[in-house]
Amino acid sequence: MLNGPDQQAWSPSSRELERRNARRQISRKQITIAGISSVLVLGALYTLIITSPGWQVVKDTFFDLDYGREVLPTVLRGLVVNIQLSFIGGFFIAVIALSLALIRTTKSAALTPFRFLATAYVDIFRGAPLLLIILLVGFGVPALRVAGLTSNVIVLGTVAVVLTYSAYVAEVIRSGIMSIHPSQRAAARSLGLTSGQTMRFVVLPQAIKRVIPPLLNDFVSLLKDTGLVSILGVTDAVRAAQINASRTFNYTPYVVSAILFLLITIPLTRYIDRVIRRSSAKQNSEGAI
């Protein structure tokens, strides 16, 4: 479309060439300024740290390269536990959260008690600190001594995380469902779709698409928060680092563990930012029509 005969014959006017030249000069100047200021600030910071009286001690106990290399495999094995926990937990969270969100948004009379229970559930688990829930489930459930109930700390830790995150995610999905304009529902119902079909084919697909960015953010938080189950004695990355650190009184394993988490979460959040930007660009273009 843009390659009509006029388009091909066009060459920029001298005024346009001047403008481009000016723009190039401005941007070159800005890059220079950014470079100089970065070197100055970072250099000052570096000198401040290096010349501080405690630097040598900090360097030996937190940034011991050889020791870091030594504990890396152990911490990495621990991190695999965190990742597994996130994915297995993520699956159950998705199922439970979706059910909670659907129960809370339905108007069906038969589900009234469930609606009440779902609301109470969300209030409790969204309101209490995750660490407390982990402690209560991790130490409380085995104390019940009910036959058949597990006392496996990994399972109990995961259950605690799933309980809490289901409440968060349910609210995100529910807000997505409520953000779909009632006219979509009216259109679906007037075509004869039942309320269940309307939810399944019209409302939910749009709602989920809308909440994918916040859900991805919650996944990053989940990945980090699985580190909290270490308090029950699960040998995840945090616990593995802790074991090593307390043995040698060298805290490098904590730094290793932190770096490993960052290696996953930073690329993930960058990716999420891109997803969000793309979806908001799309929504803006929809709004323009």
Partner: protein, 248 residues
């Protein structure tokens, strides 16, 4: 000709505001009934009550002789026999044109997907939209979207088509392509109830024109009678205002 729709003393209010006041209306098969009236006179509410999107406070509504205002009736089953087109199109943005049209035939009416698609393509071809079948609604112009919305409600062969100001969200240049579909449907003998501000169009398709004011039909009759030779002072006043706004 049999009565397809019959409204008897229908009453509806929202938070103490009486919107439909003992309104009665009969719609015969193969006719087009046009509702005119000022903004807020209750046209949309009337259509939404027929479609059971609103519950009426009193009176009765009959569809093919069956009382659909009966609370024991299956709302979903009634809506299968009615088509409704909205002012704001309300296409499903996550579905293509074809998927929008075939959703109800497949899921509600149990038609095989292949067959539903074939039937949808016949309608799309007829209204010059076949090349848009796989597009998403946001890639279509307003006029095209509204035409798709009309086709979507036609795809289930409704007994009555309810059209609520289907052109008022459109650019003047797009209005005609939408209205021409309605003219075609009128020609086919589709039974329709439509709310509109397009008086010229009302004159062309209406078998009966009803002038609504504060939830009552103050004047009814042929387009010739109501639009050209109104008797009621309020109708005259309304038409005068429409005329001044340049819409007659």
């Amino acid at each position: 000709m049999s009565n397809v729709l019959e409204l008897v003393n229908v009453r509806k209010s929202f938070d103490n505001e009486l919107v439909l006041n003992d309104l009665s209306l009969t719609v015969k098969e193969h006719t087009a009934t046009v509702l005119i009236g000022a903004s807020g006179s209750g046209k949309s509410t009337l259509l939404r009550c027929i479609n059971l999107l609103e519950t009426i406070d009193d009176g009765q509504i009959f569809l093919d002789g069956q009382e659909i205002s009966d609370p024991l009736i299956s709302v979903d089953e009634v809506r299968r026999r009615l088509g409704m087109v909205f002012q704001s199109f309300n296409l499903f943005p996550h579905k293509t044109v074809l998927e929008n049209i075939t959703l109800s035939p497949i899921k509600v009416h149990g038609i095989a997907p292949d067959q539903a698609r074939d039937q949808a393509m016949v309608l799309l071809k007829r209204f010059d939209l076949a090349d848009k079948a796989d597009q998403y609604p946001d890639r279509l112009s307003g006029g095209q979207q509204q035409r798709v919305a009309i086709i979507r409600s036609l795809a289930v062969n409704p007994r009555v088509l309810l059209l609520d100001e289907i052109t008022s969200a459109l650019d003047p240049v797009l209005v005609n392509e939408v209205l021409s579909i309605v003219r075609d449907l009128k020609h086919d003998g589709m039974t329709m109830v439509l709310a509109t501000h397009e008086m010229g169009f009302a004159t062309q398709v209406a078998d009966e024109v009803c002038f609504l004011e504060s939830g009552m039909i103050l004047e009814r009759g042929s387009a010739e009678q109501v639009l050209k030779n109104p008797q009621n002072a309020k109708t005259k006043d309304f038409l005068k205002r429409v005329h001044e706004a340049g819409r007659l």
